[in-house]
Symmetry: C2
Subunit: 422 residues, 2 copies
């Protein structure tokens, strides 16, 4: 048996085990799932030393590789961050059970009672970056919704995720749910991803968190339906009727609060009527915080610190302290620019003109459209959903923040007393 | 320019036109869409002679080709069937607008007002069989939900569909909506399907109605998200506590009312405890109506007319007057058989035991699960949805009957007064 063949067999075994676990999970009670989630949170506490030791291995390797500080920052786990992971699981535990809700009822004239009932999706595959906290978040959300999950995190966080998984599985076993409810691809071998993508018999939904490259690979190798979580190239548009003080504060927050999250604003659009009066005020605190500004010629004419932008700057998710700025004629041009360059994630308008704001909300085809607020609010927690899997950028099934409720599907129960159709 | 290249350009132009139309449709009022749908219904009346003439061409060609009677039956359009198409459009017109509904609201402690609002999907591609009525149904449902649609019907119905399209587009133009809201691939060339599958820049969702072969082709050639409408290999299970008279009537209806629809029962499972007493009564009217019975050895032992079944009979969507019958030990075995052989479409149990019925409803992982009713009720109209696009057999987005409401997605409106995130 070649090692590739053996890898495929191993991954298939994960799939079969997940499928088996999913049948048990679908019938688990709300109380069972809540108890398991609380036990998982507790296990993160008790396993904290082992998790931190494993994480130290990952961090050391990443430092040796010379990976970027922002990358290292996302990788590091300390007591406080493990605490936060546990707290997220507690939050998910406390939420209402998303399974078994009656979503709609149709009482038919022929006496048939039809109910649309929420049910788990089944088995979910999650492919994500080297962010160890996602291991616990994804496991918790999937479990809450009665799904089995197969996790594949970035290879740089492999030891951390393995240690987290051990804690979670111990808790599952203690509370009587199958440990195979939460599994992880047990190797950093890239070939394992392709083996995972081939599991269309076992995996109902794939959640890729990453860039267009990951989606292209999935699209080329997999028949599994995808709930994509892709780029957030978010725009904030300063309309000519914007309140300048508000614009300044919101843009600073939207860009600089955290530059590495998908809801961070990457492109600022400003109406031509006000750019000369408004941009200097808006850009000043950005410069002060070390943000690089890449602007078109009109923007550049205002300040020598503005670097000239190229076309690619309006198509780049910087995830860094860089802001592309462009002057537009009016809301029409702003809408057209967003339609052409946006990633249908989150866009915001700043204006006191409610008619224009209404048009922006209606016409921008993004998962989240905001009026007078920071794009950094694009987050399931900020929406009140508890933890989130991420922000879905496709249009099917879930759009925007994905919490436990979004990890369910539904089926119809039809109850009769012998009805036949005419 | 090669002809293949020219075909691709033509299909791309359809895509661009659909995208442009979708922007207008997304902003169309409920009244505009209703008026357009009523005009479309009326236009089918006035164009009836042309539609019937075009249909006669298709039917003549199909007869020459020697296509099966069931196929011809689905292809033929007469006055009555055109009337039924018009009536379906009227029904869709009268339904409430599925767009602009507030699906959820979250009033946040920081003052942000968040609303989940239903919006159109955008551009939908529909690939379907040679059933000309689908041309009107699909166009009407997509329009109701504010979507532009590109239709690709079976080549044998090409002339019929072209004539129907002409009527629909005339009505759209009269009522001030873009004729490009409803378009059709203007050739029977198979290469056009591949060109369509490549339009991921323009098409938001693909709805394939057909068999596994079509889905495999899509999966191999397309990145467009799919709302699959595949096989209905439906089971009816006679539990030992079934009412025999009810079982007889329901099974006869589930199999024979119309054998060519996806909700027709293809496999009958019967508890071992009652097969000797119940099967003769249940099979008698099926034999009387000319249904072929393919049974396992226990079933065959009851009646010489039963043909021995092979394993493939339990994996075949006959769409004909053929029923595969299998004796099972109990509900456990019935559930296992359905999990292994079913297509997650529709399954029914006949029993007076509500505990067993409850278990069946909970554990069968199909879009529609029934208790004491005919699987032929698997239909949007019977659910009260008006017309339907079909029965979705995947788990993402819409599951079960797909009406206009299921052809929408949603976005979040976030309204603030300058909030920034901590």
């Amino acid at each position: 048996m070649t090692s590739e063949h053996s890898l495929q067999k191993n991954i298939q075994a994960l799939g079969q085990a997940a499928r088996d676990a999913s049948h048990l999970l679908a019938q688990a009670t709300a109380a069972q799932k809540e108890a398991a989630l609380r036990a998982m949170a507790f296990a993160l506490h008790t396993h904290s030393p082992q998790i931190q030791a494993a994480n130290a291995q990952d961090v050391a390797a990443a430092v040796t590789k010379g990976l970027a500080p922002a990358f290292l920052d996302r990788l590091v786990l300390n007591e406080e961050r493990i605490e936060a992971m546990a707290k997220a699981l507690e939050t998910v535990a406390a939420q209402p059970d998303p399974v078994g809700r009656v979503l709609a009822t149709f009482q038919r004239p022929n006496g048939l009672a039809i109910q649309r009932i929420s049910v788990p999706l089944g088995v979910i595959g999650v492919i994500y970056e080297s962010r160890p906290n996602v291991t616990a978040d994804a496991a918790g959300l999937c479990l809450k919704a009665g799904n089995a999950v197969i996790l594949r995190g970035g290879s740089e966080s492999f030891h951390s995720s393995t240690a987290i998984l051990a804690a979670l599985q111990e808790a599952l076993t203690e509370t009587g749910l199958p440990a195979t409810a939460v599994q992880m691809v047990p190797t950093v071998d890239r070939a394992a991803v392709q083996a995972l993508l081939a599991l269309d018999r076992y995996i109902d939904v794939l959640i890729p968190r990453g860039g267009p490259q990951l989606l292209a690979e999935i699209s080329a190798h997999s028949r599994i339906p995808v709930l994509k979580h892709l780029a957030g190239l978010c725009h904030t548009y300063i309309h000519q009727a914007a309140d300048l003080e508000m614009a300044k504060n919101v843009v600073l927050n939207a860009k600089m609060r955290r530059t590495g999250i998908c809801g961070a604003t990457e492109v600022l659009l400003v109406d031509r009527a006000v750019y000369k009066t408004h941009l200097p005020t808006i850009l000043a605190p950005l410069f002060a915080q070390g943000c690089e500004i890449r602007g078109d010629s009109e923007t550049a004419s205002l300040d020598a610190r503005v670097k000239p932008s190229g076309e690619q700057d309006y198509d780049t998710e910087f995830l860094a302290a860089i802001l592309a700025v462009k002057v537009v004629q009016d809301v029409e041009e702003a809408l057209a620019h967003i339609a052409q360059h946006g990633t249908q994630h989150t866009e915001a308008i700043i204006t006191e003109d409610t008619a224009v704001a209404g048009r922006f909300l209606r016409e921008v085809d993004s998962a989240i459209v905001m009026h007078n607020a920071s794009t950094q609010f694009a987050d399931g927690g900020e929406f009140g959903m508890g933890a989130e899997m991420g922000i879905a950028t496709g249009k099917l099934h879930a759009r925007g923040p994905v919490g436990a409720e979004q990890l369910t599907t539904f089926k119809y129960w039809v109850q009769g007393n012998g009805q036949t159709r005419r």
